[in-house]
């Protein structure tokens, strides 16, 4: 009898797990049951804001096809909730009234949006009922609501200065809505960035058509719109920001109730070890937004500094790939073989690249230290470990800002605004923990007009004019001196221009130069 794996949740991370397990399902090595709460099979939640502003279509977001999975032998239940888990009997109780046995269970329950405590919103975080005109922009229905507002050129108020909030506001503004971002603190993105990048970013967002309301504390919503829908966001100082749609973008929280309800240890997420196993229950696993990798071993250095679920999908996909391999080895070769697999590598701090058309922003790691900030620079520089170093470039007039925080030449933090090539390069260097060039300005110049080999466009007579035949300017000039006066004649004499012909203009120029000099 093959092992039965039950996957709770059917978002992008679960979809990857299912994909990776498919070959084992087809051969009958494992049986797979996937339970998804939404009516649709997994789709790309990362793109929901793009969908909301009309930049993609719902059908393009699909990450799984329930019918095809069923044809492959996967049991897919959509629009069904897992009500509870009976660990003693090893079965799940589903909202459709059935009980399903599991040998292994994987939590991929993801996260839910944080609903802020505002007058006028239902404060029950588990099942918020939002008034019309208020959305947390999490699923396809939310996207449709935003789509309508953007298409109608309506006023969209985004509460929250996080990445998703900024992306939504900017895209909405670019697609014709009037967008306002309301956020705490002097600049958006909070402690992920520093003051310099925050200021440049704020200016860039404004230039992109987004109203920025900083240092704003919201207290409630006014629902005086048609049919009691949202009409304004009320602020602590008594002012109000009028709008037609309020997008709540205040972060997410792992969905852990189900795990908690069956007695599994949880922190901010479901606690799992480096094999993604829940504590004390090695045949239950958690991946993605709902999982918090923090092993029970108090001496584990990686876990001492772990910060809980990142909210990014990349780490979830890596977990899904790893777990699929583990589960297959487990089913095929047993526990010992599975435990012999290399544990999942610890994730680096996540990289954020703003999904936006008009603004380029990349950030990762810790960006708080400034070049002269001794205390922060020395932090962690003990027992031979190098101290932090900062390199910085600020050009607010042109919307450009870069800060590189390094230790031993390797990036610990980066933030780049308005410099796409530099940002792209820094992110790759960060991801690979590669050492930066000692001259950091090399990285800045990637976005400069001088980054290309200048080539020898000068008057250097030794420069190669015709690459195909390897002919120098000097040889061509000699042939002109000897009487060649057309490109054809130069070609005959020197072979210059007889390959791709790309240098004909250049040869002509040399001939003309000669005759001009003679005439003068």
């Amino acid at each position: 009898m093959s092992e039965r794996i039950v996957v709770v949740g059917f978002g992008p991370v679960a979809a990857r797990l299912v994909d990776e397990l498919l070959p084992a399902v087809r051969t009958g090595l494992v049986q797979l049951l996937v339970v998804g709460q939404e009516a649709e099979a997994a789709y790309n939640r990362v793109m929901v804001a793009e969908l909301g502003v009309g930049r993609t279509a719902p059908e393009a977001l699909a990450m799984a096809d329930a019918a095809e999975l069923e044809a492959d032998g996967v049991d897919v239940r959509l629009g069904v909730k897992v009500k509870r888990i009976d660990r003693a009997r090893q079965h799940v109780v589903l909202s459709d009234g059935t009980n399903e046995h599991y040998d292994r269970l994987v939590f991929a329950t993801g996260s839910r949006p944080v609903i802020p405590n505002l007058t006028g919103l239902n404060p029950d975080p588990a099942s918020p009922v939002l008034p019309a005109g208020v959305t947390a922009l999490r699923d396809l229905r939310d996207a449709a609501v935003l789509r309508e507002a953007v298409a109608g050129g309506k006023r969209v108020v985004v509460l929250g200065g996080g990445v998703l909030g900024l992306e939504t506001a900017l895209a909405a503004a670019e697609e014709g809505a009037q967008a306002t971002v309301v956020h705490n603190g002097p600049f958006p993105l909070g402690r992920s960035i520093d003051r310099g990048s925050g200021s440049v970013l704020t200016s860039s967002l404004r230039a992109g058509g987004v109203r920025m309301a900083g240092n704003a504390r919201s207290t409630g919503v006014e629902t005086a719109g048609p049919g009691g829908s949202f009409s304004a966001l009320l602020l602590e100082d008594g002012s109000a920001i009028d709008g037609d749609l309020l997008v709540l973008s205040c972060g997410v929280r792992p969905r852990i109730e189900l795990a908690e309800g069956c007695g599994l240890p949880v922190g901010s997420g479901i606690l799992v070890d480096h094999h993604l196993r829940t504590y004390h229950e090695p045949h239950m696993f958690a991946i993605g937004d709902c999982a918090e990798v923090r092993c029970p071993d108090v001496s584990c250095l990686d876990c001492r500094t772990a910060t809980g679920p990142s909210g990014l999908v990349g780490p979830g996909w890596r977990q899904a790939e790893w777990l699929a391999e583990y589960l297959v080895v487990l089913a095929q070769d047993g526990q010992e073989a599975a435990d012999a697999l290399e544990a999942l590598p610890t994730e680096k701090p996540g990289v954020v690249v703003l999904k936006a058309r008009g603004i380029n922003l990349a950030l990762a790691g810790d960006n708080q230290a400034d070049p002269w900030d001794e205390e922060l620079l020395e932090a962690g520089a003990a027992s031979g470990r190098a101290r932090r170093q900062i390199s910085q470039w600020a050009d607010p007039e042109h919307g450009r800002y870069v800060k590189m925080t390094t230790r031993g030449g390797v990036l610990e933090g980066l933030v780049a605004v308005g410099m796409p090539r530099t940002a792209a390069e820094l992110v790759v260097l960060f991801e690979r923990s590669s050492e930066l060039p000692a001259d950091r300005s090399l990285l800045l110049r990637l976005d400069g007009p001088d980054q290309l080999d200048s080539g020898a466009t000068s008057n250097d007579p030794q420069r190669t004019v015709c690459r195909c035949a390897g002919v120098s300017a000097a040889s061509i000039e000699d042939s002109v001196l000897e009487g060649c006066s057309t490109v054809g004649e130069v070609s005959k004499a020197t072979r210059a221009g007889t390959g791709c012909g790309g240098c004909h203009e250049d040869i002509k120029g040399l001939i003309e130069k000669h005759f001009q000099a003679t005439a003068a």
Binding site: A60, M63, V428, T498
Partner: protein
């Protein structure tokens, strides 16, 4: 002596048309001077080794090259009477020195070696390694010779290092593999051309003419980790250069495709009518939004979006083409990367449409024809599968033998080379038109394999690095001394013609195979006449994917443009997909692909990615071009291209000697500082032997589908070398041997 000939260049797959005429003063040491008639080879002082140059080369008008030639073509005739040429069979003595023997002795030795080996170790202990430079006739005959005369399954060729990934992807998607499924001149009118890992400005310079239209429209998009000469064409409004970190091409293509799907740029009616697998591909693309791809590749998301939009715009106005090259194909995920490029082209509706398309740029002179007629381990003539009973029956009938005499599938090149000298491996090897000591991955291991053979026969015209290892070297004709056909990178069959009588001791490979077949008492017929062989090839290919049955020498000699498939009674097929694809239902297959875990590698230490590639002046292993004084003089030695910042961190200045090492070997060469490479990447040309041999560092791991090795992302460490440990300047040419000292052997 024949009085000159219209033929094509001996080197790459562009097969530039040229005319060879007897040199004015063939007897003297001085080369021909230019005449008024045509742009001919101008006077270049020949090194003593080159001897007299017997023929003058001039460019000939032809759609591919339009009269243009590159330096390699212009100087090609200087090897014909080169003093270093092998003109007699050479047997290695017990002292390791090769001494001339007669052809009779040579043939007896080979026959005896084959018989002894097979008697002791079985038929598969004899192997054949062929080449993508052999004519169609030779390639066809080599496959037949291996199966019927040597009775071995162990035959494969160096095209495995070249076109195998593109071929596998093409077959999977389209049901057929022809490099360009359209005449190259179709590119002239394109407004957008996406070049994936192909540096045509150096590898086939006259081809660049066909990019001009796209450059003028600002639509040349070049993907290359290096700012190659081709990438530089995107300057000044010519287009866009995308510079991904090595090994991330697949992710980049998925990112571009993602934008096409999500921005509604896909040609949905084309997809509906002509493809299958679309939905699964769309799902697989979802995870590759531009910002994520930027983090993987280092290519800014804005450029990824712009590329997608330009391609889509071009597909609607003027035409868009996607062309792939070895840069994206020579990887362990090369087949999947080529597949991603094909998927992108299918999303945009390019293949088979009137003014757009997808193609792959074949590298070797007969890289196309050479992969169609049976020198691949799994293949029979006409691009047939050796495991297909119908194919076997057809070929057995043409050959007049019982089907059971045709062995099954053998081993692909890398596995074949790994088996050399091993128990159950190959113990006696024939090498034709290949120089594996320089060109195969992990060449130190390959050399050890060759040395552990019981008998190695190498057919070549020079003492290549591989020939030096041989027990027996057999001298064969050069291109200007033989007749035959090649199939260029468009799938157009062209004629190679004889312009010169070969030196007395030199034979054609057809002659050699015919004699050996006779001595080995092979069934069927082995002609040494190229046209007779071609007539047999026509019959063998009839009904196959690469059907040549309607083509004959007379037609080619009349100058007719013959594109396969060309069944009898047809007009040939210039545009392969005009009426659908080669799968039974006429649809192209879209296969979802994702980067393998191996592709996402961390370089946390100070290692660098090594990419290998070509220089304009040299061809493949350099066995020929390193013997041309003009070419060697211009590029006498390998140089490691390294970013100034990367070099500075290692204390390396421009021109310093550097060592490039990994667990497989070490290369020692000069460093050239340039910001044309990424700081995390170094580049080495692969044309040089010995301590400059880049393939000492490449790994013999292969693509699971195509058998292609990983040539482009070896992990290496670079250090400054003490210059005292190396011989100083590049070696001069010694008058006697005509060979540069640092290239004292080779093919």
């Amino acid at each position: 002596m024949p009085n000159g000939a219209d033929t094509h260049c001996p080197y790459c797959a562009l097969q530039c048309a040229m005319t060879l005429t007897p040199a004015a003063s063939a007897a003297g040491a001085a080369p021909a001077t230019s005449s008024d008639a045509a742009p001919a080879s101008p006077a270049t002082p020949a090194l003593p080794g080159e001897g007299a140059v017997p023929l003058e080369v001039s460019g000939r008008d032809f759609p591919t090259n339009r009269g243009g030639l590159c330096r390699k073509g212009w100087t090609s005739a200087s090897l014909l009477r080169h003093n270093g040429r092998v003109t007699e069979p050479m047997l290695k003595g017990s002292d390791g020195v090769h001494q001339p023997i007669s052809w009779d002795q040579a043939l007896m030795l080979v026959t005896a070696a084959v018989k002894d080996t097979q008697k002791q170790f079985g038929n598969d202990a004899v192997g054949v390694f062929g080449g993508g430079g052999l004519t169609n006739e030779k390639a066809y005959m080599l496959g037949k010779f291996a199966r019927l005369a040597l009775r071995t399954s162990r035959i494969d060729y160096n095209g495995r290092f070249c076109m195998s990934s593109a071929a596998a992807a093409g077959n999977r998607a389209f049901g057929v593999d022809r490099g360009l499924p359209f005449p190259v001149t179709d590119l002239d009118s394109a407004s957008v051309i996406l070049m994936l890992g192909s540096n045509v400005a150096e590898t086939m310079p006259p081809f660049v003419q066909h990019l001009q239209g796209a450059r003028d429209a600002g639509g040349l998009i070049v993907v290359d980790p290096r700012r190659s000469a081709t990438a530089a064409f995107t300057d000044d409004g010519g287009g866009i250069h995308l510079q991904p970190t090595p090994g991330t091409d697949l992710a980049l293509l998925l990112g571009i495709s993602h934008v096409v799907v999500h921005e509604g740029l896909a040609d949905t009616s084309y997809i509906e009518a002509n493809t299958k697998g679309y939905a699964a591909v769309v799902r697989s693309l979802n995870a590759f939004w531009p910002e994520r791809v930027q983090s993987i590749t280092g290519v800014p998301a804005t450029l990824i979006r712009e590329t997608a939009r330009r391609l889509a715009q071009g597909a609607r106005n003027g035409g868009s083409y996607i062309l792939s090259g070895r840069g994206v194909e020579q990887h362990v995920d090369g087949t999947d990367t080529a597949t991603a490029a094909i998927n992108l082209s299918l999303l945009l509706g390019l293949p088979g449409s009137a003014r757009s398309g997808y193609g792959t740029l074949t590298g070797q002179g007969n890289g196309q024809g050479g992969r169609e007629h049976g020198q691949k381990a799994d293949q029979l003539p006409g691009y047939r599968k050796i495991t297909d009973p119908a194919a076997r029956a057809h070929i057995a009938k043409v050959w007049g033998v019982d089907e059971s005499l045709i062995p099954g599938a053998g081993l692909p090149a890398v596995e074949l080379l790994k088996s050399l000298g091993k128990p159950d491996g190959v113990r006696c090897l024939f090498v034709h038109g290949a120089n594996v000591v320089v060109s195969a991955p992990d060449t130190n291991a390959v050399t050890q394999g060759l040395r552990s053979l019981d008998f190695l026969v190498v057919c070549d015209f020079f003492m290549s690095e591989t020939a030096v290892e041989a027990d027996l070297v057999l001298p064969v004709t050069q291109w200007a001394e033989e007749e035959g056909t090649l199939t260029n990178f468009e799938g157009r069959v062209i004629r190679r013609r004889k312009a010169l009588t070969p030196p007395p001791g030199v034979r054609t490979e057809l002659w050699l195979m015919a004699r050996l077949a006779e001595m080995l008492e092979a069934p069927s017929m082995f002609s040494d006449d190229p046209e007779t062989v071609f007539e047999e090839l026509r019959l063998a290919s009839a009904g196959g994917l690469a059907d040549y049955s309607g083509i004959d020498y007379a037609m080619l000699d009349r100058g007719e443009a013959a594109y396969w498939p060309y069944p009898v009674g047809s007009q040939g097929t210039p545009r392969l997909f005009a009426d659908g694809f080669a799968h039974a239902d006429g649809r192209a297959v879209m296969v979802p692909v994702t980067p393998s875990k191996r592709a996402v590698r961390s370089f946390a230490d100070d290692s660098l990615a090594l990419a290998t590639g070509r220089l304009l002046e040299h061809y493949q292993s350099g066995a020929q071009t390193r013997r041309v004084s003009e070419l060697l003089g211009s590029q006498p030695q390998a140089k490691l291209l390294i970013h100034p910042g990367t070099a500075a961190a290692r204390g390396i200045a421009d021109g310093d000697y550097a060592t490039v090492t990994n667990q497989r070997g070490e290369v020692l060469c000069r460093a050239e500082l340039s910001n044309s490479v990424r700081p995390d990447t170094v580049f080495l040309p692969f044309h040089f032997p010995g301590q400059e041999n880049a393939n000492r560092l490449t790994e013999a791991v292969t693509d699971p589908i195509s058998g292609m090795p990983e040539f482009k992302t070896s992990r290496v460490w670079v250090r400054r070398a003490a210059s005292t440990t190396v011989s100083a300047a590049p070696a001069a040419v010694s008058a006697g041997s005509g060979l540069p000292l640092h290239a004292k052997e080779a093919s």
